[in-house]
């Protein structure tokens, strides 16, 4: 409140004449400082539901394909027909262990299953089998990079570490389609019983962008280790966000939960909207209600869900049909047990491929790439693989050149052709050959770009042969360049005059002239330097004569 008044005084003062300038300025500094001290701080924790990439469901032998004919991937157990019993899928347990290890969690050697009860049409048994008391893994962390070149606040890449409280195995529910017009819900049980990993984070994030960064990192990790396809659009990765605001030093505020966010952008938007809503509400003297909300992507707002009148009582109880799940390590894997019945944490740890964070650090520390390039390359598993493909079996190849050619030129072709890097028919090795020509100064960057275009469009000659055929060798003879530049100056007197009058942009006309004459075979930096010298020299000549 105080800061609002001071800001108002400042506003009124600033409209007065210059005499008040210093006074007003010092007040404004005080106001910002005061405002900063009293500023609201948002606290965000998220829950992630990741569908395990497996052929069959968690406790039944039904398939898990997406968009399968309705209610046709349902076994008697999935439909909760009495007399059926759950049998756990080994693959799901292994996937959960691998994910837990990738998130630096400690894996519990004994974990248990519980029933969580609630009534909903897409939950046939009336309860979900989950792990409430003793989950498969606890206490981990995930490091991600908060970076968004489009927003000034996030233009500098910054590392964020988010603690993982626990990772648990549970069943997915069926899918409901609400037909509001006719007043009924259509239920498809194909998804009912698919294995889920629920990951709960500590409230270590403070805005939408940070939450979005964490989710992007998790998606990358899942795709790298192959435990979840991480497609938010298909619902194989879903996010619930818990949001509250408070003033630093005061206890945490009442939180709301926004459920079922199905894109990374919506996560950021929903959280930022909810933060603004809560701050506005509190500043107006209102109270935040502990409730569940949904995000309406059409309006960009969060809306309350029905059924909030009563606190849910899930009536957790131990699952009587499942004895404890045991996981071993090399020290206690008993040899007399059937090998198929043993899951060894150490074996799984050894099979984890290099994770995105380690790859990113390698790109920066060893390859010398700028952070922005490293983040971009590691942001997509296929892109990273392509990059590694370019450098494969060619220790002499410069990673920097490869990164620039890939990120600037190959991707431009890919976007133009509306395909993806995974299914583009341009072999990484061909791109590598183009990089070599640039690295050895045989061609210019512009010719390199042109070569990428040609090879992408199906030119079968190898890059060196194309250069040979078109005589696209880089012009390195300074005499030749000097002559070319002089011609450019002679043929563009108008541009030269304008440039001398101080209109710097006319200089590019001269560069383009030389570049066009030589079909981009001159290094634009060399041309620029030569042109500058020539123009200056002529300029001094002219001034001397006059």
């Amino acid at each position: 409140m105080a800061c609002v008044i001071i800001t108002n005084i400042f506003k009124r003062n600033s409209f007065k004449k210059l005499g008040h300038f210093w006074y007003a300025r010092s007040l404004s500094v005080a106001a910002t400082r005061l405002k900063h001290d009293r500023e609201w701080k948002a606290v965000i924790g998220i829950e992630i539901h990741a569908q395990i990439y497996s052929k069959s469901k968690l406790f039944s032998g039904s398939g898990t394909e997406y968009a399968y004919p309705v209610n046709n991937q349902v076994g008697l157990f999935d439909a909760a027909i009495p007399g059926t019993l759950p049998v756990i899928n080994k693959r799901c347990v292994e996937a959960a262990v691998m994910t837990a290890l990738a998130l630096n969690c400690s894996v519990n050697k004994v974990s248990k299953f519980d029933r969580k009860h609630y009534f909903y049409a897409d939950l046939p048994a009336g309860y979900q089998i989950t792990q409430q008391r003793q989950p498969i893994a606890t206490d981990g962390y995930c490091r991600c990079i908060v970076y968004n070149p489009a927003v000034p606040k996030y233009r500098e890449p910054r590392e964020l570490s988010v603690r993982i409280i626990q990772l648990q195995l549970e069943q997915d529910s069926g899918k409901s389609l609400h037909d509001e017009e006719n007043g009924y819900t259509l239920v498809d049980l194909n998804r009912a019983g698919v294995g889920l990993m629920e990951i709960v984070t500590a409230p270590d994030m403070c805005d939408g962008e940070e939450a979005a960064s964490l989710i992007k990192e998790l998606q990358l990790i899942f795709k790298t280790i192959g435990t979840c396809n991480a497609r938010m659009d298909e619902g194989s990765l879903r996010v619930d966000a818990n949001i509250s605001v408070h003033r630093p030093g005061e206890p945490l505020g009442v939180r709301t939960e926004v459920k079922n966010l199905n894109s990374v952008r919506f996560v950021a938007k929903a959280i930022d909207y909810e933060i603004s809503r809560q701050i506005e509400l509190l500043e107006d003297g209102g109270k935040v209600e502990n409730e569940t909300k949904a995000f309406d992507f059409k309006t960009g707002r969060t809306v309350s869900m029905r059924d909030k009148e009563m606190k849910q009582d899930y009536r957790f109880m131990p699952e009587p049909n499942l004895p404890p799940l045991r996981i071993y390590d090399s020290s206690d894997a008993v040899s007399h047990l059937d090998a198929h019945q043993v899951i060894n944490v150490d074996d799984i740890r050894a099979s984890i491929p290099t994770l995105p964070a380690a790859k990113r650090t390698h790109l920066v520390d060893v390859c010398g790439l700028p952070w922005a390039d490293a983040i971009k390359l590691s942001s997509e598993v296929n892109l990273m693989e392509y990059f590694e493909g370019i450098l494969r079996d060619a220790p002499h190849r410069l990673p920097k050149t490869a990164a620039t050619i890939l990120l600037k030129h190959v991707l431009r072709c890919v976007y133009k052709a509306k395909c993806s890097i995974a299914d583009c028919n341009l072999a990484p090795q061909r791109v590598g050959e183009i990089c070599d020509l640039i690295d050895t100064s045989k061609i210019t960057w512009d010719i390199g770009a042109k070569l990428v275009d040609m090879v992408f469009e199906g030119e079968t000659l190898n890059p060196a042969a194309i250069v040979e055929k078109n005589k696209w060798h880089k012009i390195t003879d300074n005499e030749v360049i000097l002559r070319l530049c002089q011609t450019a100056i002679d043929e563009n007197p108008k541009a030269v005059r304008k440039y001398k009058e101080g209109k710097k942009r006319y200089f590019s006309t001269l560069i383009h002239h030389v570049q066009n004459k030589t079909e981009q075979c001159t290094d634009s930096f060399v041309v620029m330097d030569t042109l500058k010298q020539l123009v200056l020299c002529e300029y001094s000549k002219v001034t001397q004569e006059s």
Partner: protein, 164 residues
């Protein structure tokens, strides 16, 4: 409240599975002397030693009925429920210090792991057989938890700017 009930449920379950175990012991190891007393012994528990009696209000009854999908029917049903809770209160007197809670008598066993193969499903007709109403192979259910109609104020970026 429902916690008491579920605890009671657990205890009953544990007792039944325990008695089953005893029976099987008797059948398969009749030579060994059972640690379980052969005859039940009764001890009277003083009413005043018990915790205060739980009184269930109508709201809780409604809640329980909804949760369990069981209709208590009449006052007699509710009385029976109260008595059951009172009976369970005696369990609070049992000294359990140092006793590890037990979920199942199979605690020393390990969960069997199945290999990841599709062996079930593709039986839509069987599955839909139980449904009273089906539209295009979907089960039809009453409307569920859907967002409330939108009547809230806008807090998006545009209005944030306006505020500043």
């Amino acid at each position: 409240m429902s916690l008491v009930l579920s605890r009671l449920g657990n205890t009953v379950k544990r007792l039944t599975s325990f008695s089953k175990l005893c029976k099987s012991k008797r059948v398969f190891a009749s030579n060994e002397k059972s640690k379980v007393p052969q005859k039940p012994t009764w001890s009277h528990v003083e009413e005043n030693k018990l915790t205060e009696e739980t009184l269930i209000d109508n709201e809780t009854i409604d809640h329980l009925e909804r949760m369990s999908l069981v209709d208590f029917n009449n006052q007699a049903g509710i009385d029976r429920l109260n008595k059951a809770i009172r009976f369970a209160d005696q369990l609070q007197l049992v000294n359990t210090t140092g006793v590890e809670p037990m979920d199942t008598v199979l605690e020393n066993r390990s969960l069997y792991l199945r290999s990841d193969e599709v062996t079930d499903g593709n039986c839509q007709n069987d599955i839909l057989q139980n449904a009273t109403k089906v539209i295009e192979d979907y089960f039809v259910a009453p409307p569920g938890n859907i967002p409330l109609p939108d009547q809230e104020r806008d807090y998006g970026p545009a209005s944030a700017k306006k505020r500043k």
